[in-house]
């Protein structure tokens, strides 16, 4: 075919541009955060990042090797006068090799991922965890803290309503002194155990720096998410599950502060709350419009 030469030149050029682009990605890591992950800010995230890098090098290696072989074949075995194609239907030994090796790699990857999933990310939250209730609604978040007694109290999805966004059990005295906030204020280096519920549709609890995503499902209390922030600073919680016309702007501020600052903030908030019958949440209104 007379076209192959020009085709090759073109394909080669495209590939070169593409690889140069990839190279630029590596040359410009993190400094501007144009290309890469935001810096991790929780304990468990370290393991997730390690796993991402491991998979990156594994898949990157496989990609580069297969593409080099592939492009080499394409160039080497282009149609040439007088050189016939090799007549072969395959090779069973090769089939076995390239079935067995990927199977072993994938099962190994599953084993490690699964270990991380259970033993690190979803292990039982430590006893000293700060309990925080997270309520999601169209279109915002609200957070509930245990109050002076340090206990959030029982909650059930069936109790969730406009007046009781966090689904607190009305008969549980532990919930009576709970207070709420429109900002997720948390201390650094202390485990935070969150309890998620939604009033209307499915929302998402997503903080890229915390390497956490969890859907918030109406009709369910989700209580297995916990994390330990390691960096003081301001972050943003984003709803990342399409939830309606206001989804694009459904977010909340997160402030990770020192233990001392947190205590101060917490005591002030806790003092302001008068225990009320039926655990009705007076401070919900402050979060309505954000």
């Amino acid at each position: 075919m007379s076209f192959w030469r020009s085709t090759f030149a073109r394909c080669g050029l495209v590939l070169a541009v593409f690889l140069a682009g990839l190279g630029t990605c590596w040359a410009d890591p993190r400094t501007s955060n144009l290309w890469w992950m935001p810096e991790n800010a929780v304990q468990g995230g370290v393991y997730i990042d390690q796993l991402i890098y491991f998979i990156l090098f594994l898949t990157g290696g496989v990609f580069v090797i297969t593409q080099i072989v592939y492009i080499f074949f394409i160039v080497k075995y282009r149609a040439r006068k007088g050189v016939p194609a090799t007549y072969t239907h395959g090779n069973n030994r090769l089939e076995i090799i390239w079935t067995a090796i990927p199977t072993a790699i994938f099962i190994g990857l599953w084993g490690y991922s699964n270990h991380l999933w259970w033993d690190v990310l979803h292990s039982t939250p430590p006893a000293n965890s700060l309990q925080v209730g997270v309520a999601a609604y169209q279109f915002g978040f609200s957070f509930q803290y245990p109050g002076a007694d340090g206990k959030l109290g029982k909650a059930e999805a069936s109790f969730v309503s406009n007046d009781n966004m966090f689904g607190n059990d009305p008969s549980d005295p532990d919930a009576k002194d709970n207070f709420s906030s429109s900002v997720l204020e948390i201390p650094v280096n202390r485990p935070v155990h969150i309890r998620l519920d939604s009033k209307d549709v499915i929302h998402g609890f997503y903080i890229p720096q915390f390497r956490i995503y969890q859907d918030i499902v109406p009709g369910r209390m989700i209580d297995w998410v916990w994390f330990t922030p390691t960096k003081i600073g301001k972050f943003q919680l984003a709803c990342s599950q399409l939830c309606g016309s206001g989804h694009y702007n459904m977010k909340a501020d997160i402030e990770v502060v020192s233990e001392a600052d947190f205590e101060k903030w917490y005591q002030e908030k806790a003092k302001a709350v008068q225990p009320q019958p039926g655990a009705k949440l007076t401070s919900v209104t402050e979060t309505k419009d954000q």
Binding site: F3, C11, V17, G21, L34, W35, W36, P38, Y47, L51, I52, L58, T59, F63, T66, V69, F73, I74, Y77, R78, A79, V83, P84, T86, H89, G90, E95, T99, P102, T103, F106, I107, L109, W110, S113, N114, W117, V120, L121, V201, Y206, P208, R211, Y213, Q214, D215, P218, G219, K234, F235, Q236, S240, L242, C243, G244, S245, H247, Y248, N249, K251
Partner: protein
């Protein structure tokens, strides 16, 4: 109608060659000839491709230039979509995203692969006069067309497009008060239901035809790989689509008749929708890629002038994908709030399903190895398919690992991945296949030079558009948010969003070259010979285009589908319907 019902056996074929002239209506509108139906599907789905593409341009415009009015047409658009100044509104954006995906999945890729090439190729490749149920076949097309009209008609209702995403997660989708477009969402349910009927009719047809109507000598292991792929796809369709249809009906009842299958506030189960949807949705992913794998395998063999490497391994790998495809749906739901133990289990089956894809990739490499490669446009697309599919397959491994999914779930990383599989994979396969089978469909050749221009531009802009989306995802950009500028952590990556959008516009424009070539060649393209690519399968033994009833005499099949470069032969291909000459040293794998 009775004269077009398929019979097998040579007498029937002889009879079919002497049909009386069909009326215009029976020839072009309600045709029961599988080739005409395939072409009807082709025109319709290419039309929908333009619509889906325009919707994507709208999405990319908004992500790069949110708040600026759309040039030229902005103020002409309906008020649910744009502000008075002509800029896209958030709710309108949700509608664009929803309909772009719905159109591309249900009205473009699925019909292009399954309906166009399934209808056109199955009878021709197995030596049959038509499909087993020609009436069903015609019905299938018109149901499909109706479903497209129903889905798109939501553009004209006051509340606009459905806006709950193509996945339509309940309870957002189940309540007009939540999603803001009760009418649009209801039309979505009806459209998907009708579309499902079309798929089921097609699937029954394909399975019956392939099992019952193969020409003498066409053993199952002599079927060309596109036929195998379509056969397995049809089984997947038959088992998966009814689940979606049922779910869509339930959703319609929730929306309009006050039932509460999915709404938690009325004791329904929101996660049940996700289980039903993804029980369909994951086999669907393979429905959208398996036929492309089959088509590409054939093009690689033809233009490498070699038998496909590991034919049986290819078939077993596709069958394995078909079986495993039904037990991996939960990997869409690792973080949905379902039991964490289920996430573990689905992660395991997901890792396993990567194996057959790896096997196929290695066999494609094996096919190219030792070949004598001809770089036609079709081959360029087929070669690109393999590379792009490798990227999409490898980036899928990130999501299969549950802890990593915890970070990148529902970000642009997944958007990048799905487009590498569905655009770089399926759509590149489709483009290649159109360039390849166009001569047989229309009797004219497409222009190779402009074909290659189309290829190079698409390949380039495709990668420039979708590769940076991986980076956007790693930086935490969620899917389906109308304005990334509103998030502090996304401000730094906004230049990348603009770059992606500009590349996407380039990708959209490059497709125009294809359409011009497609239409121009139909009238002015050089006349196509019977077998322009020196191919072995049965459709190339017929005139281009083949007449009504296909084979004047039922062919007998003597060989496997890909006997290229057989030693001891003068020509480098051995058609399936010719016995091997004495000198040929054919080996059977």
């Amino acid at each position: 109608m009775s004269q077009t019902i398929a019979h097998s056996g040579p007498e029937a074929h002889a009879a079919s060659a002497h049909h009386h002239e069909l009326s215009f209506f029976h020839k072009y509108i309600w045709s029961e000839d599988h080739k005409t139906i395939a072409i009807q599907y082709l025109f319709a789905s290419l039309f929908f491709l333009c619509i889906g593409g325009l919707l994507a341009m709208g999405v990319r415009y908004q992500l790069a230039f949110s708040g600026s009015p759309i040039p030229l047409i902005g103020t002409l658009l309906p008020k649910w979509l744009v502000t008075d100044a002509g800029a896209i509104q958030p709710q309108g954006y949700n509608g664009l995203v929803t309909m772009h995906a719905t159109v591309m999945v249900f009205l473009v890729v699925m019909p292009l692969l399954v309906a166009v090439f399934g209808n056109f190729l199955i009878p021709l490749k197995i030596g049959a006069p038509d499909m087993a149920f020609p009436f069903f076949n015609a019905l299938s097309f018109w149901l499909f067309f109706a479903s497209g009209i129903i889905l798109l008609s939501s553009f004209f209702v006051p509340t606009g497009f459905p806006a709950a995403g193509w996945t339509s997660y309940a309870p957002l989708s189940a309540n007009g008060a939540y999603n803001g477009s009760q009418a649009g969402q209801s039309l979505w349910c009806v459209g998907i239901f009708v579309n499902g009927l079309a798929s089921i009719a097609g699937a029954v047809n394909y399975i019956t035809t392939i099992i019952n109507m193969r020409a003498p000598g066409m053993k199952m292991f002599r079927l060309p790989l596109p036929v195998w792929a379509l056969f397995i796809t049809a089984i997947l369709l038959l088992l998966a689509v009814p689940v979606l249809s049922a779910a869509a009906a339930m959703l319609f009842f929730d929306l309009n008749f006050g039932t509460s299958f999915f709404e938690a506030n009325r004791y329904g189960q929101p996660l049940m929708w996700q289980h039903l949807f993804w029980f369909f949705g994951h086999p669907e992913v393979y429905i959208l890629i398996l036929p492309a794998m089959g088509l590409v395998s054939e093009m690689l063999a033809v233009f490498s002038r070699k038998p496909i490497f590991g034919y049986k391994a290819m078939v077993y790998a596709m069958a394995a994908i078909g079986v495993l495809g039904f037990i991996v749906w939960g990997h869409h739901m690792f973080v949905s709030g379902m039991n964490l133990m289920l996430s573990s289990a689905f992660s395991f089956s997901t890792m396993l399903i990567a194996v057959p894809s790896a096997i196929k990739t290695f066999n494609w490499l094996g096919t190219v190895w030792g070949g004598s490669i001809r770089f036609t446009t079709a081959m360029c697309f087929a070669l690109a398919f393999v590379s792009m599919f490798v990227i999409g397959g490898l980036s899928g491994i990130y999501m299969a690992s549950t802890p990593v999914d915890l970070f990148i779930h529902h970000t642009y990383f997944i958007v990048a991945q799905i487009h590498y599989v569905l655009f770089g994979g399926s759509l590149f396969g489709i483009f290649g296949a159109i360039y390849f089978w166009y001569p047989k469909m229309f009797g004219h050749m497409m222009n190779e030079f402009w074909g290659k221009v189309h290829f190079v531009l698409s390949f380039m802009f495709f990668n420039l558009t979708f590769f940076p989306m991986h980076n956007l995802g790693l930086n935490g950009m969620p899917r389906r948010i109308a304005d990334p500028n509103l998030y502090d952590f996304l401000k730094s990556s906004q230049p990348l969003n603009i770059f992606v959008s500009l590349s996407a516009f380039g990708l959209g424009l490059s497709t125009i070259i294809f359409f011009v070539n497609f239409i121009y060649s139909m009238f002015k393209g050089p006349k196509a010979p019977r077998n322009p690519w020196n191919s072995t399968t049965l459709e190339w033994t017929l005139p281009s285009p083949p007449g009504h009833g296909n084979f004047p005499v039922t062919p007998t099949v003597y060989n496997g589908p890909y006997e290229y470069s057989v030693p001891g032969m003068d020509q480098d291909f051995l058609p399936q319907n010719q016995p091997a000459p004495e000198t040929a040293r054919v080996t059977v794998h």
